[in-house]
């Protein structure tokens, strides 16, 4: 039995799933819910492993989760095209919207596949904290050092914090306001004042500082009197 994935033909056995054939042939398909150690466990719930089943004859192409899609002879699959990318991105955004982003206190920060995927699919809303291995007491904020990680776009793999220095926001401020509020709250909880945050924010552009100031006003965050 043969199927075609991204234009290349591969042999497979009846009953196999498309994800497994791709994996055997080193074709990368992301997944969050499939148990990498035990492939029997596959709730097919995360929908990140979506692929396009190319329609045969007059049939329309269909998006299917590859981990639950059984192979059939002559099947044609596309894992990398714009439709697949966009759909996976949307799924990730939906998952992220329901995800409590307390990365600073999360046990897998610094080694988080979900955060990596969000970065790979260019989703704004994941801070450097998700990539930083210093959680809880190790967090710079907990040690009275103002680290800009909570309001900074991820993607650097937290290079500075991994090497013992606080984040200086090379990748710039996140544009996802929910996460920014979360980050600003984290500054406040750790005793930093509005002035201190604005001082550190001098590395940002005028526009970015204005967004931070507006959020502080709107949500009454880092109120000087309260913090002091």
């Amino acid at each position: 039995m043969k199927i075609t994935i991204d234009g290349k033909e591969f042999s497979c056995k009846p009953g196999q799933k498309v994800y497994d054939v791709a994996e055997e042939n080193d074709i990368y398909i992301p997944t969050l819910c499939l148990n990498k150690l035990n492939h029997e466990e596959r709730p097919a719930g995360c929908r990140i492993c979506l692929v396009e089943l190319v329609g045969q004859g007059n049939a329309e192409p269909k998006l299917e989760s590859s981990c639950s899609l059984p192979v059939h002879d002559g099947m044609e699959i596309s894992t990398k095209n714009k439709v697949v990318y966009d759909e996976r991105r949307e799924v990730l955004e939906l998952l992220l919207s329901e995800h409590e982003q307390d990365c600073r206190n999360c046990g897998i920060s610094g080694d988080c596949y979900f955060a990596d995927l969000c970065f790979e699919y260019d989703i704004d809303g994941v801070s450097v904290c998700s990539e930083c291995p210093n959680r809880k007491d190790g967090c710079f904020l907990a040690r009275d050092i103002l680290c800009l990680g909570p309001v900074t776009h991820a993607g650097c793999n937290a290079f500075c914090t991994r090497n013992g220095d606080p984040c200086e926001s090379c990748f710039g401020v996140l544009s996802n306001k929910d996460v920014l509020v979360f980050g600003l709250e984290a500054f406040g909880e750790n005793g930093f004042t509005r002035d201190q945050v604005l001082e550190a924010a001098k590395v940002f552009s005028y526009e970015e500082v204005r967004v931070l100031e507006e959020l502080m006003d709107e949500y009454d965050l880092l109120n000087k009197e309260v913090s002091e």
Binding site: N134, G138, F140, R143, I145, F159, C160, T161, R162, N163, G164, D165, E168
Partner: protein
């Protein structure tokens, strides 16, 4: 009679932009000029107002080759101004980082930039087919140097772990042990590369012009990280008085400032260090220097490339000793993400470090909140520009009859021998107001 018109715009296989202009009519030299047209950088202006914690990170960006050197010089100036102590172990690790950078830069210059001249090629690419085995050895040394920088500083360029008062993260003993094994393994490779260069060294022009050589010097070690300013003319100056040595001035053909001390110009770099500190070279490095007939005081600027090769050997040997020292005493534990307690205060401090291209100075003044109010950086290449100009003026009349192509090549080789980092050296902008 010869008419000569050389106009190299810009010299290749150096960092940055520099032009060589030579005009001669009927055997008479009319003009020789070393021009620096590169745009100024303004680093000293934009560190003003920045807190002391950020200065090393910012000034390291002056150079992609000497980022570790700039960071360390900056830290030394800051630590001098704010009276910050650095532990003996951290000083040794910083010296190790500096060796990594020194090897990186020297191997890059000797192996990729200067070597093509010696084998008569225009770049390093043809060497991949003509001398593949030798080139692989050069690349393996470069890789080793990169790794030493990464182990000590967190990455190969633009160090992250160097902070005022020490290190934010230390290398693990295992990393240092692995590094030591690799350094030891590189010694035979160094010998092979040295004998390869030796076989080609007859291509180096035999030109001498007496000049002054300035570098750091130290009683106990071949000075890189610490010492006083020494001149081959015999003066020893404390680092705080560096301005009395550099005496910067401005020339119309250059955006970089020129410098002079006892004579019309002086030279800094590997050859200057070797001339001032020859006796303190490591045993293997001395052997290599003797092999090339290099002994103090050598006045041939083309031998700077060989002095760099000698220093690579010294750096490997000294790094092995440093790692032994550090491991013998055991690495002192420091917390995860170590940030030393520092009380900012007002003050002025000077830092001087020997970076690959010569002696580098940073001077900062801080206010009582630890914000920089004034900064001055004097970069090795801008100390060499005057010497390059005077070398050219003395060299061109001797080679005038050799034809334009040959004159051009010999002058380009001269500039390359100084291994100039031109972008780093530009500071000065001439603003003329028309009223």
């Amino acid at each position: 009679m010869t008419n000569l018109n050389v106009n190299v715009e810009h010299v290749t296989r150096v960092e940055g932009h520099g032009n060589i202009l030579v005009d001669a009519k009927e055997g008479k030299l009319e003009r020789v000029m070393w021009e620096i047209p590169e745009a100024p950088r303004y680093f000293e202006a934009f560190v003003k107002g920045k807190p002391y914690t950020q200065l090393a990170q910012i000034t390291a960006r002056i150079c992609g080759i000497c980022s570790i050197g700039h960071a360390l010089t900056s830290l030394k100036a800051t630590e001098d101004a704010l009276d910050i102590e650095v532990s003996e172990q951290d000083v040794k690790l910083r010296e190790l980082a500096l060796h990594g950078e020194n090897m990186q830069s020297h191997v890059l210059h000797v192996g990729y930039l200067a070597l093509p001249d010696l084998v008569g090629e225009g770049s390093v690419i043809p060497l991949a087919t003509s001398h593949p085995e030798e080139l692989k050895k050069v690349i393996s040394l470069h890789k080793l140097a990169n790794e030493l920088s990464r182990v000590t500083c967190g990455r190969t360029t633009h160090p992250r772990r160097l902070i005022p008062g020490g290190f934010s993260k230390l290398p693990s003993p295992l990393e240092l042990e692995n590094m030591k094994t690799k350094l030891e393994g590189s010694v035979p490779v160094l010998h092979e590369v040295a004998s390869f260069v030796k076989g080609l060294s007859s291509a180096l022009p035999d030109f001498e012009r007496e000049t002054e050589f300035i570098s750091l010097t130290h009683d106990d070690e071949y000075a890189f990280y610490d010492g006083k300013i020494a001149s081959t003319d015999g003066d020893i100056t404390p680092v705080d008085d560096y301005l009395s040595v550099t005496n910067e001035y401005v020339v119309p053909q250059s955006t970089a400032k020129y410098t002079k001390n006892n004579r019309e110009s002086y030279m800094v770099g590997a050859l200057a260090r070797l001339n001032n500190n020859y006796d303190l070279l490591s045993p293997l490095a001395k052997e290599v220097a003797e092999d090339f007939g290099l002994s103090p005081v050598c006045h041939n600027p083309y031998m700077n490339t060989i002095a760099q090769l000698v220093e690579v050997v010294h750096s490997v040997e000294d790094s092995i000793n440093l790692i032994d020292d550090i491991l013998d005493k055991g690495i002192e534990e420091q917390g995860l993400n170590h940030q030393p307690d520092i009380e900012p205060k007002a003050g002025t401090g000077v830092g001087a470090v020997e970076v690959p291209r010569g002696i580098l100075f940073h001077e900062y003044t801080y206010d009582d909140e630890g914000r920089c109010t004034k900064a001055n950086c004097i970069i090795p290449t801008n100390q060499n520009h005057g010497n390059i100009q005077h070398d050219m003026e003395s060299l061109v009349p001797q080679i005038l009859d050799q034809g334009e192509d040959k004159v051009e090549l010999i002058l380009e080789m001269l500039v390359r021998a100084y291994d100039p980092c031109i972008s780093c050296s530009t500071h000065y902008v001439d603003v003329k107001f028309k009223r």
